[in-house]
């Protein structure tokens, strides 16, 4: 098995995540698809770290995880706030900046 297989897997997972962001309308599912894309990028980083034989890629993947955790916390808080005022978690309903 060539090591590039991990990169193929990463590309496929990233693409699936991108389809999900476009197609799904529940804000929480859209968020999960973004997480999937971040994870796919992490897999590519880890694979490149192995190809290059140093740990920089793993450190970058670690930072990605931290930033993703921050993003999830703030994003879910925004979703809850929108849900509280509009009673809906669909991204189509939140089409106005005003209430």
């Amino acid at each position: 098995m060539a090591i590039a297989n991990y990169l193929y897997l990463s590309a496929i997972l990233f693409t699936i995540g991108a389809i999900g962001v476009v197609l799904r309308r529940n804000a929480i599912v859209v968020f999960m698809c973004i997480e999937l894309m971040l994870n796919a990028a992490n897999l590519a980083f880890v694979t490149f770290a192995r190809i290059n034989g140093n740990l920089d890629g793993q450190v970058v993947a670690f930072f990605t995880m931290v930033v993703a955790a921050c993003e999830v916390v703030v994003g879910l808080a925004i979703i809850v706030t929108i849900y509280r005022s509009r009673r809906s978690a669909s991204v189509d309903d939140a089409s106005l900046l005003k209430l």
């Binding site: 590309a11 496929i12 995540g17 389809i19 529940n26 999937l36 992490n42 880890v46 930033v67 849900y83």
Partner: protein, 256 residues
């Protein structure tokens, strides 16, 4: 030291077996994530994808990242997702039908194009060097080696990330804090609203479930003309309603 990558470069043996077993499963799970209707099922499928990615990390000599992936992603982030799903309501499953015309066809075509581009790019790329493997870099242990590089070369980024974490926590607290813009909708307000509805029959409270049937469970609608109004909205959204006519008292004909 766990070292599943026995033969670095052309990863043969156990690692390829692991890959060919887990990679199709994780792709299937991520496709299923797009297709299932309920957000909870999506979350569980995503958790499966994340666990298999953690296994891939460990197989690729990234032991620390694999453990962090399980603890942070499947432990914290997915639990946060499920918690928010619980707050927002399980019944907010979104419809899968498109409301922008042709969006699905366009999105799938674009995604196939994008994915094909990435895959063909990887297939044509040369990596410039032979796969080195991490045996040398991990010689003092993966976590130790990462700590060494994290606190020297990347220490500034590390500090910035800590500021980011604090800001995110503050932001979530500010966003999550709700100031009540109106007083709580109490029993008195409910009563007034009921009388103002127009018809006097609405003035009485809604019937409880099961009261007029021979079965007294919450998922049995009362045998009323209004029918399912006696069932809680959550049960209706989930479809957990039993047909109440089967509990109806069968009046036998007295003439027989």
């Amino acid at each position: 030291m766990i070292n599943l990558a026995l033969d670095v470069g052309t990863t043969a043996g156990p690692e390829s077996l692991l890959f060919y077993f887990l990679a199709p499963l994780s792709i299937l799970a991520s496709i299923g994530m797009l297709l299932v209707k309920k957000a909870v099922h999506s979350a569980l499928l995503l958790a499966w994808v994340m666990i298999s990615l953690a296994i891939f990390y460990i197989a690729q000599d990234a032991l620390f990242l694999g453990i962090v992936q399980i603890v942070v992603y499947t432990g914290a982030v997915m639990m946060l997702f499920l918690f928010i799903l619980m707050l927002v309501g399980v019944d907010t499953s979104d419809s899968l039908d498109e409301n922008i015309k042709g969006l699905r066809a366009i999105a799938i075509t674009a995604a196939i194009g994008f994915g094909g581009l990435l895959v063909s790019l990887i297939a044509r790329a040369t990596f410039g060097r032979e796969t080195t493997g991490l045996i040398g870099a991990n010689s003092i242990g993966n976590a130790n080696a990462i700590a060494e590089i994290l606190f020297t070369k990347y220490v500034f980024a590390f500090e910035v990330v800590s500021a980011l974490l604090i800001t995110a926590a503050m932001g979530a607290m500010v966003l999550g804090h709700s100031q009540k813009s109106r007083s709580k909708f109490a029993q008195r307000d409910l009563s007034i609203a009921r009388f103002r509805k127009g018809e006097l029959k609405d003035a009485a409270g809604l019937p409880g479930p099961g009261v007029y049937a021979l079965h007294n469970a919450v998922d049995v609608p009362a045998l009323l003309p209004t029918g399912p109004t006696s069932i809680s909205a959550v049960l209706q959204a989930r479809g957990d309603i039993i047909e109440s006519s089967q509990f109806q008292l069968q009046v036998e004909d007295e003439e027989k």
